[in-house]
Amino acid sequence: MSSVVNDTRIPNNVDLSSDKKLQRALEEWQPNFIKWWGAMGPEGFQQDDVFLRTAISVDHEGWANFDYVRMPEYRWGIFLADPVADRTIGFGDEMGKPAWQQVPGEHRNTLRRLIVTQGDTEPASVEQQRLLGQTCPSLYDLRNLFQVNVEEGRHLWAMVYLLHSHFGRDGREEAEGLLERRSGDPDKPRILGTFNEPCPEWLSFFMFTFFTDRDGKYQLLALAESAFDPLSRTTRFMLTEEAHHMFVGETGILRVVQRSAELAKLDPNGDVRKQGGIDLPTLQKYLNFWFSSSVDLFGGEVSSNAASFFASGLKGRAKEAGHEDHVALHGTYRMVTPEGGALVERDVALRSAMNEVLRDEYVGDCQRGVDKWNRAIAEKGVDFELKIPSRRFNRNVGLYAGMRFNPAGELITEEAWQAQSGQWLPSEADRAYVLSLMTKPVYEPGKMAHWIAPPKQGIKGRPVDFEYVRHDAR
C-alpha cells in the first residue's frame, strides 16, 4: 500500500484514478475549496513562501516533507493510513465481525452526521484564525499558524473524500455545505458552538490549539476505532498531523508563561502588566474559558446518542484496545449529577456515559500539559499555579448547563456567579488588554514579540531565526 500518486490534481493514496466518477466529483469540488481558501484562509499571506510540512505519503518518511510553498499551491491530498489486514470490529454489539468497507444502510445517516460534524470543525478553525497572521509574535509562530491552517484544510479534504466516496448525492451536498457555513456568521454558523467563538488574538489561538484541537484529537481517536474502516483509516492518519497542533498550543502557552515569569522578576512589584506581559491570573482566566468551552464539545454526560454510537460500532473509546470490556453492556459509570439543587453521585449505564469516558481521558491529557507549564513557572521561582477548572464550570452543554458552578466545581447561586465570574473568565478589560499587546506583527527573523519567550529550537533542524515565512517575497 502507500502507493501515493502525487502527479495528479489531487495527491492521494487511495487509487483515485481507478474511480473516474469519484475523481471527477472531487475535481469539481477542488476549485470551490480553493475559492473558499482564498476568501476565508489566512488573509494577507497567500503569495508568501512558507516553510511548510506537506504530506506526500503516509509512511514515516513521506508524511513530513518540508519545503517552501505558497499556501494556495499547497498539495492538499487524500491519505488513509495503511489498512490493517482482516480488521474486525473492536467493540459494541458487532464486536468480532469484519470491519465494514462499505457504509451499512442502517447507519448511513448517522455516519454521515458524524463525519459532517467532524469535517465542519476543520474549515471553521481556519476561519476563526484568518486574521491572526497580521499580529504574529514572530515568523516562527506565523509559520506554525499556517501549518495548522493548511493541515486543517487537509483534514477537510479527508472528510470530504469520505462524503464523496461513500454517501452519494447527500454526501456531495454536505461537502458543499462544509464550504458554505462560516464561523461566527449568525446566518450560517458552523455546527458546534466553540467553532463560532472569535479567536481574535494569539493567546486565544494557543489556548484553542491546546484545548480545542485536543478535543479534536480525542474525537479522532474515538473515530479511529470505528467499524467503518475508511473512517478509521482516515482518522488514524489525521492523528499524526494533529499532534503538531497540540505542540503549537502547548509550547505557545509555555513560552507565554515563561515570559510572564521573567517579566514578573523584572518588575519591582512583580507587576507583569506594567512590564507589558500577560500576567498569570489573566492567563488562568483564558484557560478557564477555553477549557470549559472545549469540554462542551464532548457532548452530554448522559447521552443516548453516545450509547447508540458505541453499541452499533460507529464510535469507540480512545484506544479501545486498552479497555477490558469492549461490549460495555452491563458496566456502569459513577458520575456527579445535579438533583434537586444538590450534587449527588449516581451510577449511569456505561454506554450512556461514553462521552464522559472520553472527556476523562481528555482532561487527564490537558492536565499533563498544565503540569509542564507549572514546572516552568516554579523553575523561574514564581509562586503561582495554573489550574484546570472543574469540568462543571461554565458549561453550556450537558448535565451542568444552566447551573452555576465555581472553578472548584461547587454549585453556587446566580448572584454569586454574577459577583465573581469576572474573576474567573476574561472580562472585556482583560480582552482589551491582551489585544493591546498584539497590535503589530513581528516579521524580523528570530525576533519575538515582547510578551512571549522564544522557542527552545526551530523547525526541522532550522534555527529559530530562520526565515520561516518570506513575507517580503511578494
Partner: protein
Amino acid sequence: MADPTHDDAPIRFETHPSRYRHWKLDFPATYGGRVARLAMDVQEDGGLRPGYPMKLNSYDLGVDIELADAISRVRFEHPEVRALVVTSAKDRIFCSGANIYMLGSSTHTFKVNFCKYTNETRLYLEELSALSGVPVLCAVNGTASGGGYELALACDEILLQDDGSTAVSLPEAPLLAVLPGTGGLTRVTDKRKVRRDLADVFSTLAEGVRGKRAVDWRLVDESASRSKFEAALKARVEAMVARSPRSATGEGLALPPVSVTRTGDVSAYKHVLLQVDRGRRVAELTMRGPEGDPRAALTAEHWSVEAWRELDDALLDLRFNHPTVGLVVLHTVGDIEAVRAFDRSLVERARSEWLAREVLLLQKRVLKRLDLTARSLFALVEPASCFAGSMLELALAADRVFMIDAASTHVALSVVNFGAFPMSNGLTRLESRFLYDPSVVTRLKDEAGLMDAGDALKAGLVTFTPDEMDWDDEVRVAIEERTSLSPDAMTGMEANLRFAGPETMETKIFGRLSAWQNWIFQRPNAVGAAGALTMYGQPGRPVFDYRRT
C-alpha cells in the same frame, strides 16, 4: 419506573397564563396588540410527574394543557387578536416532541389518552384559524422533531430558520419504531400535500430535512436565514393580520376556573354531576339544563358557557383519572323549552356577536370531545330529562339511547341540531345517523314540537323505549352486558360505528391513532423487552422481529 398514570394525584386541567410554566403568551407591541405570540420554554423539572427531565422543549401532558388553555384565552379573552405566532423561547431548538422517557414510563392507556388530547389541541389550533379567523404562523426558530413538527403542521404556515442545522423531522419510525401520534403523517400528505414518496423518505430520515429542501418538499412554506428571519416573520404576520376575517371587538370574556366540589368519586359542578362507581366500572354523568333569561349577558356564568366548560372538564377527568370506567350513562335534568330558548338565542346572537359564535364553537368542541371519548355511552331519557337541541346532541353522540315510554317524557329538536355542531367527519350527528336517507334530516327540520317515546322511536332518534314496568331491568341488563365485554373490542367497535360516512383529515387522524399507532405502540418491536422504545436511552440496541404483519 415512574408511572404517570399510577401516581396518586389526579391530573387536573385548570390553568391560567399567570401560572404557565412552559409557555409564554404575550402580545408584542410591534403589532399593536393584534398578534398573540405563544413561545414554548419548557421547564426541564416541570414535568407533570417526576422521573423524566423535559430537555430540549420536549413536552408532556402538562405542557399541552397549557397550550390548550392559551388557545382558549386567545379566543375568549383577546378579541383584538388577528393572528397567532407559535414559536420557541429557546435557542436552536423549537420543540423536540413528546418526551420519550415520559412515554416509556407511561401505561398504554395513558399514552393513548395523551396522544388523543394533543390531537384535540392541534385541531383547536386549526379551528382557531378556520372558524375564528385567527391564522396561525409557526416560527420554527430551531429544530422541530416529532411532536414538535406535528405542532408546526397544525399551524397554517411554517417559517423555518435556515442556518444549516435547524431541521424539521419525524424520527419516530427510524428512532423509536413507532409512528408520529399527533397527526404527523396524515397532515404531511393530506394538509401539506407532500408527495408520498418524498413523505416516505422524510419519515424515515431521523435527522430530518433543512432549509431549501424543506421548502421544495412542501414540508414548510418558507426558509429564512437567521438575520432575515424576523423580517420574514413580520411580513407573514402582517399579511395574516390583513387577511384575518375576525371582526371581534370590545372586551373579552375572562375565563375563571371551573368550580367543582369533589367528594370521593363524586364531582359536583354547578351544572354537571359526575358519579363514578368503580365496582361496576360505570359513571353516571348528569348535565343540568339552563334556567333564567337566555338573553342575559354572555358571562362566564351564563349556562351556555359554564355548563359546557364543566362538561368538558368532567370528560377529561373521566378519561385520565378513571381509566377503568367502561360505560358512561348520560342523563339530563331540566326544562326542554328552556334549552331550546337558550339554543335559539345563542344562534341568533351569533349572527352579530363574536362571543356568541365562540360559545357555539366551544359547545361544538365539547361535543366532539364526547364523540372521541373511548367509553361506551348510553343516554337515558327519563321523565325529568331535557334532551333537546344542544343537549339532545349528547344523546345523539351516545352509542345507544334508552327512552322511557312514559307520560311527560320527551325529546325535542332545535335549530342547533341542523349544522351548528358538526362531528369530526364534517356531518351533523343527525346526518351521520341517517346516512341511509338524507331526506329524514330534512323532514326533521319541521319537527318543532315535543316528541314522546313513540314519536322519537319512529323518527329514529332513540334505540329502545321500554315502559315504566320494564325500564329498570332493561337498563340494568343493558349496562351489565355492556361492561362485561372486552374494553378493547368496544373501543374499536364504537370508534367504527360513531364516525360513519365520509373521512376527513380529522377522522383519519383519530382513526389512525386508535388503530395503527396504538397497535404499533403495543407491539414487541416497540415496547417489548428489546423494543426500540424500551431500549431508547438504554445501553443496548433494539432487536426486531422482522416478520411483516
